[in-house]
């Protein structure tokens, strides 16, 4: 049975990839992921703003109150290095590359074009096999239109692609008016792969303290549906490889991802909750399932339930929404009083 898949030009031994998370922030964890069968890893994101903020804060913290009073002209010794900037991330790339044989994908999350290009080049130089751009920009300016934002994304991908020699994946947010169109634009702009969709911190409210508190909850399989939906729609309409991230927990989730058209299924929350070994269990189950259902290869099932291949493609469209609603209403009506 053939579990291999291809993703961004790499032949992977299976479709389970560890997506960007704190799990991948140490070489020992990355090695453990490889041992448990994961076929590639995406490293934690280099956040441009975070790097800049850290530099600024440290600068401020070290000089606060200095050169004011003759007895205490400074408060801290000068240390040789503070490992600021992307140095720590780059070091992780270097160490990970020498520690494992699976592809190592660096992840970037930036805000400025100069930041993206600089960090992407740095990551490439550090030896990563590919780069995943996390295109998560919070557009809080009400004057900016979605087309302006999308144009910026595409331009960025074009510029980056031209300045890199390694493959470039683009991780999308599901907040797009026309995701399929955006996918097409990014495909044309040069994205090697599209990763659907990112998950992020959401502001929550503390109603006792009247404070806004950022919050991130782990995913659950329910969230997979959104991804399946859009991968199934996009599949076959773009050159880029497709990847699903968010809600991949079980073997069924992996299989569904493949059937929707993804080349890989990225896993994070399940690994965080159940441990790194969970990947090997899912892989074993994948083998059994395929055997039981007489699938020869992953390739065979890829896209089999996509918009273009599904027996009932209308299920992907608005009519399905109406049907679901009406069946819900019917169910309510039929329920015993």
């Amino acid at each position: 049975m053939n579990l291999t898949t291809t993703y961004m030009g790499f032949t992977l031994k299976n479709p389970i990839v560890a997506s960007s998370s704190p799990l991948c922030d140490s070489v020992s964890n990355i090695r453990a992921l490889e041992d448990s069968g994961v076929s590639a890893v995406v490293l934690p994101s280099i956040f441009e703003e975070q790097l800049q903020l850290e530099e600024e804060y440290l600068d401020q913290d070290l000089v606060r109150g200095t050169e004011s009073f003759g007895e205490s002209l400074s408060y801290f010794p000068l240390l040789r290095d503070y490992n600021l900037g992307p140095a720590g991330h780059l070091e992780l790339i270097r160490k990970a590359k020498s520690a494992v044989s699976i592809p190592v994908i660096a992840s970037l999350n930036g805000t400025s074009r100069s930041g993206w290009i600089q960090y992407a080049r740095n990551a490439q130089q550090a030896g990563c096999d590919a780069i995943e751009l996390n295109l998560y920009s919070l557009v809080t300016d009400p004057m900016r239109t979605s087309s302006q934002v999308e144009n910026d994304y595409c331009e960025l991908v074009r510029v980056l692609k031209s300045s890199l020699r390694i493959p470039l994946a683009v991780k999308l947010s599901h907040f797009a008016t026309a995701p399929a169109n955006l996918a097409g634009q990014l495909d044309v702009a040069g994205a090697t792969a599209l990763v659907l969709f990112n998950r992020f911190y959401q502001p929550d409210f503390d109603i006792e303290q009247l404070e806004v508190t950022p919050r991130l909850t782990l995913s659950h399989s329910q969230e997979l549906l959104l991804r399946l939906h859009w991968v199934a729609i996009i599949y076959g309409r773009v050159q880029s490889d497709l990847a699903i991230t968010g809600g991949v927990h079980t073997v069924e989730d992996v299989i569904k991802s493949m059937m929707a058209g993804a080349k890989v299924a990225m896993m994070t929350s399940a690994l965080l909750q159940k441990g790194v070994h969970h990947a090997s269990s899912v892989l074993a189950e994948l083998g059994h399932w395929m055997e039981e259902h007489e699938y020869e290869s992953i390739r065979q099932m890829r896209g089999s339930m996509s918009y273009r291949s599904a027996p009932n493609p209308a299920a992907f469209e608005r009519v399905n929404y109406m049907r679901t609603l009406s069946s819900y209403v019917l169910a309510r009506k039929e329920a015993p009083v």
Binding site: D59, R64, E67, F69, E71, P77, L78, G85
Partner: protein, 1216 residues
Amino acid sequence: MAESTAPTKVILDANEAVASVAYRLNEVIAIYPITPASPMGEWADQWSHEECKNIWGVVPRVVELQSEAGAAGALHGAIQTGALGTTFTSSQGLLLMIPNMYKIAGELTPAVIHVASRAIATHALSIFGDHSDAMAVRSTGFALLASNSVQEAQDMALIAHAATLESRIPFLHFFDGFRTSHEIAKITPLSDDDLRSMIDDVRVREHRDRALTPDRPVLRGTAQNPDVFFQAREAANPFYFACPAIVQQVMDRFAERTGRSYQLFDYIGAPDAERVIVLMGSAAGAVEETIDVVQARGEKVGLLKVRLLRPFALEAFLSALPVTTRAIAVLDRTKEPGALGEPLYMDVVTAVGEAFDQASGKWAAVLERPRVIGGRYGLSSKEFTPAMAKAIFDELKKEKPRNHLTIGIKDDVSFTSIDYDPGFSVENPRVTRAIFYGLGSDGTVGANKNTIKIIGEETPCFVQGYFVYDSKKSGSVTVSHLRFGPQPIRSSYLISKANFVACHQFNFLERMDVLEAAEPGAVFLLNSPFAADSVWQHLPLRTQEQIISKRLQFFVVDGYAVARETGMGSRMNTIMQTCFFAISGVLPRDEAIAAIKASIKKSYGKLGEAVVQRNFAAVEATLANLQGVHVPEHALSTFNILPPVSSQAPSFVRDVLGVMISGHGDSLPVSAMPQGGTFPTGTSTWEKRNIALEIPVWDESLCIQCGKCVLVCPHSVIRAKVYDSSLLGGAPTTFKSAKPRWREFETLKYTLQVSPEDCTGCRLCVEACPVKSKSEAKHKAINMAPQPPLRENESANWEYFLSIPEMDRGLLSHTQVRDVQLLEPLFEFSGACAGCGETPYIKLLTQLFGDRAVIANATGCSSIYGGNLPTTPYTKNLAGRGPAWSNSLFEDNAEFGLGMRLALDKQTEYARSLVSSLSGQIGTALSQEILSADQSTEAGIAAQRERVSAVRRSLADTTLTEGQDLLAVCDSLIKKSLWIVGGDGWAYDIGFGGLDHVLSSGVNVNILVLDTEVYSNTGGQMSKATPRGAVAKYAAAGKSTAKKDLALEAISYGDVYVARVAMGGNDTQTLKAFQEAESFNGPSLIIAYSHCIAHGYDMAFGMKQQKAAVLSGYWPLLRYDPRVRKQGKNPFQLDSKAPTVPLRDYIYAEARYSMLARSDPETAQTLLRLAEDDVARRWEIYEDRAAMHGSDLGREEPLTELLPVGARAVPSDGEK
């Protein structure tokens, strides 16, 4: 530090230059912080952390001790055991080393102590430079070697180390504190090879051969008896006789290698000089410059620089002095009260006397003995200028010159001073002289240090940078004095004629005459919120007049706008530096800009590319915003520079302190100074500093009157009062009030008022405010708003608020924060850092007990913001009562306070006996009431005050001796509260022996330890209170051991009241602890978590960090009250809950921890784990302790029987 292949020139200060030599020539370096020598230890510690090696390839061991006495002891041990050792110190620190210095010298052991010379505390402490420390150790047997400049300090450091090894005489190498220690200069460095060539390894091996070792055992340190001690003491003489020649040989070898020639006594000036000044130290530079000018006018003058003061080389002295000399002025930078003359003068008189008595050498033919006069100058870094040197030479011309003179002051009491012409200047026109006025931390000094580096490195110019700092830690003014010139710069004094003046803070113009030193045609750069076309009308008249009359070239830049726009925040270093280079013409503009950028890359590179890019952007934006101002022909401003204090101020404040505030304290005559160093309290209220850009504004509609903002305000600028509503009748229209939320005061009014001109804008109050608007969550009951538009109205409101009577203290609960906000603070507007974590505790102390408190204050931050002139924060209430405060030393504060308590008790005892014996005169009933008074409450104390007043009235006309005696001591019948206050450096380290002893004494003292976990005042050096894993100076690698548990140590006595508090963690517990400690009739210890600027975060969040410290279990709150044992209960009360916040969440909010996690993640991780274990382990111990059953002790016995003897000696009526 200098590399083995040294560059041609380096730019550094003397502390770094000396430390570099000392580090490379030693193996064991014992250190302890003291201004201005601390940086030498800091450099050594840092190099050791970086594993830099000495010239023998070994990384020296740098160890911090608990005091200078400890450092000297460790040094003594190290050198006795064959190591090469050194230490660095100053002032009081050197005094603490004296006992070991006698030993080290007596045992003929080579070592060098490097001293940044500083005044010794007498009538007052001073951190500034003079020779009183070095002169105090003349008799120890150490050789004393002086250096006069940064270059010389480096060179003499090497000469001292080489000479000590060859002579076996230990050396004290000293240079002027601040003037030399902190002056930045361009010098020729000494390479490792230079050092190697000067150190004779044979001598090193001889030193090791003399070491104590069981392989060749000897015994050293015998006790000797009258039969031989004297002879043995004289046995060392040959070494002292040989020493000067050895030093000269070393100097000659040094000259051969480096080309820099030194003599034991260096003579400068006319070979046939008739008048000669003799002195040591940095003042030599000013005299040399004067000689150049005076000699050119045909006068025959000279200067004899003393380098080796001990052993005094008579022949070398006489040989250096021109035989033509007719008059000598010996200037000492120290004072020896009551002596015939100061030490150097006495030496010279003796030397000249001996020369004539012996009539030998070139002096044999001289018939008339030259006249020798002595004088004092430059105490505590008082300026010594060419004008003064000229006056001394002129004095020597006189038939009968003044002897025992002083120069640089106006002595209208003893009339020792001679006049000088302040207008006399020898400033070289080829030297660029620039003065910069800045605000502490605004980047001005940093920028200037960079400028010096750039000019020093990019051009052949010599450079000099000297920085004058304020006496306040918040909102302080810095004045940078920079010189650049083609020749080495000898001007060892401030610039009085500048050709470039920059004022980096527009609001300085309001109160300061920044153009006083500008010379005609100078460039004036002003950081101005007003553009070139509108700035003129915003300048005071005096400033306009000077710009016009001096024909200044005037430029403006809106530095803060550029900083904001380029993401620089409030830091303007790069911006103002760019302006300087753009308009000063020191370097071609493009070259200068390129150099600035290179320097930015170098300075900020390790902080990351973003910081570098931001600075680059600031450079570009600055050039685009710098504007020349067209200067009108006439000064027509309608306002002028404000007086330093209000005309309403008391005369002493107006005429003395006001002059100091205006920066003209040098002009005050001796008669203006209180003799013995006693000053009035309540003076800070007159120094309106207006340093806050934003101040808190009260929203009376939201406020719940909890009092937290008042409690946490470090500067006592937020106050609350409850008062009769009728008082609102005369209030200003903007004066706010609200209905009090106390049921019993409902019919009255409540006002929370901010003093706009005293606020530092720290925002601690806003962060402490628990109330948020229900319709706009960011709006609190107190919010920051720009100060300038509020200043006038709020100042009037503040004045009105002060006129409202204080609340009756008896009506308030003194254990409720809400009520305590209404108690008048007797500590206000200190110069502590904005957001200080210590001062809220001190303010609380004064609110609760201030009107009857005596405070013994250890040296440190609290003695500086508590007692640094010009104005001081301890104040009085309307009745004229308030804390009486004194600072003795750093090391003995507990003992100092103990002595105070004993004195107070003894006077009480005497007063009580007089009341008994005079009951006939004052009335039996009154006597009885006085003797049996219960003063455990405010009301009881008030009643006793009334009784004492009655006694005063009844004895007003007494002629009885006993009656007059009682009048002298009757105030001691009113309960006094004795507080011993200091920081962790004192309590955990240098003063711990005394503290421990006082805790064991049973005497009724209250000890408040303001625990900032580092030596904050000297710039953040590690103490034993520093937590594991925190980076501090002297712990650059992160402190590897755990913090001492001072609370448990004190608890171990069993009869000491102990509390660990954190106001931000639990303010009510803090209040309780203060009340319990004060009421406990025995020693009490409160250890108070004090957030500090040395922790590395915005102190607005200080109280939040305190809370995190408590919640993480790092700072468990506890109270141990021995009185509870009487009730059969466990006296150990744990006041905080088991940790709920991970330790890392608390610590990594502070740069002192996070910088290690960045710099050395693995070590940080290891230390974090150990620190977590510390927390867990201690929590277990505390929990067990808190769970212990109560004691049966004391159930049947009265408390006093359980107290130790000392405590039982005080009256048993519940008084303290």
